[in-house]
């Protein structure tokens, strides 16, 4: 597209760029992920849900962006579109990240069928890493915590601790006085792990 036409498009509020070589248009403020979905380009996600603000934590939605000779790997769910950028959703660098993350997820969330299916989509069917908690299905995506805060507004649960000890829980692992038993966390949980925790939280 000529620079003149691109500018004209931009003035209309449209931003032109490319995903996997395909020309796409987006509006100011859209993210790469939203645009990709609009154009039928598939990008896997785990911690993304349209009901809450995206936080770019699972990193499964990473894509490679190339512009002005520079290349970056970014989380597409939180990266705003930019005119003229070249987005690659399955470049070698991106696939490397995705495959290793999925393989590590298989070891850390061995009880989740959804993760097994997601991993299989990318050719990851087994893991070389140690499985320490065979019953664990929680990827600590934080969706339950975020809906409880942003949608329900009671903030009954949070992610306690940090690093490999990070866990979804109600304070002191006791029944939460703030929980209203709405079950939104159950609904939004991508792996069903919340089912194991729900009774402890709501009491």
């Amino acid at each position: 597209m000529s620079a003149k036409k691109a500018k004209k498009e931009q003035d209309k509020g449209l931003i032109n760029f490319a995903i996997n070589g395909q020309s796409v248009q987006a509006r100011e403020g859209w993210t790469i992920l939203e645009t990709a979905r609009q154009f039928g380009v598939h990008i896997p996600t785990l911690c993304f849900h349209p009901a809450v603000q995206p936080i770019g934590s699972c990193r499964l939605c990473v894509v490679e962006t190339r512009q002005n000779g520079q290349s970056r790997v970014v989380a597409s769910c939180i990266t705003p579109v930019q005119a003229g950028v070249e987005v690659l959703t399955h470049s070698e660098e991106v696939q490397n990240v995705r495959r290793w993350v999925l393989e590590m997820l298989l070891a850390n969330c061995p009880a989740s069928r959804r993760i097994r299916e997601l991993a299989k989509e990318y050719g990851v069917t087994s893991t070389r890493f140690r499985v320490e908690h065979p019953e664990d299905a929680c990827p600590r995506c934080g969706l339950c915590v975020r809906v409880c805060e942003e949608v329900v507004g009671v903030q009954a649960i949070s992610l306690g601790n940090r690093g490999i000890f990070k866990e979804v829980t109600s304070p002191y692992h006791q029944h939460s006085k703030d929980c209203v038993s709405c079950g939104t966390c159950l609904y939004v949980c991508p792996t069903g792990a919340m089912e194991q925790l729900f009774d402890q939280i709501r009491g």
Binding site: R59, R162, I164
Partner: protein, 638 residues
């Protein structure tokens, strides 16, 4: 202790009487302080940096006071005893320096006080046995500025430390403190201040090395676009293990940080600043708090500073035990009372930071450079160091080096000069094996690259990183696989856990390194680990995860043979990895004292009194007790 605190508060109250209404008053106040001081009066400086404190320097100071009191010296000539921050030569503490001559005593004990007073103060002679002896020449060196450790440094940011009492603002004023702030406020526009910092070429000293002036400019542009408050923050959350530059600066010259932040706040249009200090640095917190109180009392902080209409005040926030809060977005979260989890950048804090407002976060050492740029000019500053890495940098030189301590050198000096000329070389060996710079984010530089200039870009080119200034010297008895593993373990404990590549990746990389350390795995594993490392580097949300593979990647790059020795030969050449070593007792050295046997938790050392003792390797757990306790160093590791 309580009495000291009360004395400090009453100093502040008295100080309010001297509240400075304008820049002229500051100059007059300084003149008045200097007029009261006799430049020829002997001042006995007793270093009270953390190292010397731990080695008993308060007792030395007390003993000196007592001896002086008992010596009956005439009143106008009584030497003053001054306690100061860290002089940097920590391996030689407790340090006592006599000014104005610079007579330097090292490893001073309480019982030496009497002799110092008698021999040096009364009889005018040095106490020979307390002098520093250059291990290379065997000659004593009497004055601090002649000692190689100090001679080859260029102490600019550290210039006042060791000369001033950080708990007494009049010392700071006497050496010219706040003069630069006065100059900026009365003689420069905010834009001129930013231009000066840009022209000086100052780059962030916290690790990333981003051009400071440019960052300030972004922030002012953002404030123009979105009018409202802008904040300045001093990052004192120095968490790299082995680094204590910021601690020394905050403890020993807190006003250097405050003044720098005030100048920056003026340039940026900020009226509120924060200093985020690790809770593990209680002395730094105390000295900064005192400094702020005293500066407020004199009108150098607070409302209408020096009568110029400029308002600026600083609050101290204490860290709560999270290395990740040194990352600027995590630091901001912590200031907002939230969990210290980083958020993706862009947007950068200069655009949207604390409470969504433009925020300038700079390392405290960076702030410590600002007053000198204003006072001596950007040309003077940019003449120091090398182009693209101007000025000086403070390093903590630790590990297997003779002179462990804090050094400040011009950028561009070679690694070898630092380790050799200033550090005095590696004890017992003729060369270092590797120098690790940049902490857990950095890399190991092998001896063959000893001529690498120490500046931002040269270090990045060899795969390492300047980082915050930790410089860890390693010798043949340090295992590079163990070093990589150590940094990974550190980061695993400190990871916030929010993003998968870091939370899961650190654990996964450790699985490989644990395997190698146990002599398991294969050369194929080394390739796999490199691929995993690339994924963690590219996929992580913040720099903690993003730089975590650096120690692994550089040690594999420069010490691949050592990795192969572990996995293929099941050997740890450095004699460190527990599963690959055996402890035994050297029959030529053992004197049969039995200390090892008594301390062995497994009870696997046997031998008769005064006869050779032996270790039963099958029960030995390689805990190292025998080696640590043996008085004659008879325990061998292979």
């Amino acid at each position: 202790m309580m009495g000291d605190a009360m004395a400090q508060v009453s100093t502040a109250r008295k100080l309010e009487e001297f509240r400075l209404p304008n820049a002229e008053a500051l100059a007059a106040y300084r003149e008045a302080i200097l007029a009261q001081r006799d430049p020829n009066r002997t001042v006995i400086i007793v270093c009270h940096g953390t190292g010397c404190l731990a080695n008993g320097s308060p007792k030395v100071a007390a003993a000196l006071r007592q001896s002086i009191a008992g010596a009956g010296i005439a009143a106008p000539v009584i030497p003053e005893i001054k306690t100061t921050g860290c002089h940097g030569f920590c391996s030689r503490g407790p340090l006592v320096i006599l000014q104005p001559s610079g007579l330097f005593y090292q490893k001073v004990k309480e019982k030496d006080a009497e002799e110092i007073v008698q021999t040096t103060l009364m009889e005018g002679r040095p106490v020979e046995r307390l002098l520093y002896v250059d291990p290379r020449t065997g000659e004593p060196i009497a004055h601090d500025h002649e000692i190689p450790f100090y001679k080859y440094q260029q102490r600019i940011v550290l210039r006042n430390i060791g000369k001033i009492d950080p708990a007494d603002i009049s010392d700071t004023i006497a050496v010219g403190g706040y003069q630069a702030l006065a100059t900026a406020l009365t003689g420069m526009t905010p834009d001129e201040v930013i231009a000066a910092v840009e022209a000086a070429g100052l780059r962030g000293r916290g690790g990333a090395g981003f051009p400071t002036g440019r960052k300030w400019r972004f922030a002012t542009e953002n404030v123009r676009k979105h009018p409202g408050p802008i904040y300045v923050v001093g990052n004192g959350d120095e968490g790299d293990p082995g680094a204590f530059m910021d601690r020394t600066l905050m403890e020993g010259d807190p006003h250097a940080v405050l003044e720098g932040m005030a100048i920056g706040a003026y340039a940026l249009g900020a009226s509120q600043g924060f200093i985020y200090v690790r809770m593990e640095y209680p002395v730094a917190i105390r000295h900064l708090s005192l400094a702020i109180e005293q500066a407020r009392a004199l009108g150098l902080l607070g409302k209408n500073i020096l009568g110029t209409g400029f308002d600026f005040d600083i609050q101290i926030n204490r860290g709560a035990g999270a290395f990740v809060c040194g990352e600027e977005t995590a630091l901001i979260a912590s200031l907002e009372g939230r969990v210290g989890e980083p958020v993706p950048r862009p947007p950068f804090p200069a655009e949207r930071g604390l409470w969504g407002r433009p925020t300038i976060i700079n390392n405290v050492e960076t702030w410590g450079n600002v007053s000198q740029i204003i006072e001596k000019g950007s040309q003077w500053y940019s003449d120091l160091g090398v182009p693209h890495s101007t000025g000086t940098k403070i390093f903590s030189l630790v590990g297997k080096v003779n002179n462990v301590g804090l050094v400040e050198v011009p950028m561009g000096i070679s690694l070898e000069r630092i380790v050799d000329e200033i550090g005095g070389g590696v004890p017992g060996q003729d060369r270092f094996k590797a120098v690790q710079t940049g902490g857990p984010s950095g890399g190991c530089i092998p001896y063959k690259l000893k001529d690498t200039p120490v500046d931002f870009d040269s270090l990045t080119k060899v795969g390492a990183m300047m980082g915050s200034g930790g410089m860890i010297v390693m010798d043949q008895r340090d295992c590079m696989v163990d070093v990589a593993r150590y940094f990974l373990r550190f980061l695993e404990e400190e990871s916030c856990g929010k993003c998968l590549p870091c939370r899961l990746g650190l654990k996964a990389m450790l699985e490989y390194l644990d395997k190698f350390a146990q002599g398991q795995g294969s050369p194929q594993d080394i390739e796999e680990l490199q691929s995993l490392a690339r994924a963690v580097k590219a996929g992580s949300l913040c720099a903690l995860g993003g730089t975590s593979p650096n120690p692994i990647l550089t040690t594999i790059q420069y010490f691949r043979d050592e990795y192969l020795a572990h996995v293929v030969d099941h050997r740890c050449p450095a004699g460190v990895c527990k599963d690959l070593i055996t402890y035994s007792i050297n029959p030529e050295i053992c004197n049969g004292c039995g200390v090892c046997a008594r301390n062995c938790p497994q009870g696997c050392i046997s031998g008769e009194k005064k006869k050779l003792h032996t270790i039963d390797a099958s029960s030995c757990i390689r805990c190292g007790m025998c080696m640590d306790e043996c008085p004659v160093d008879a325990v061998m590791v292979e």
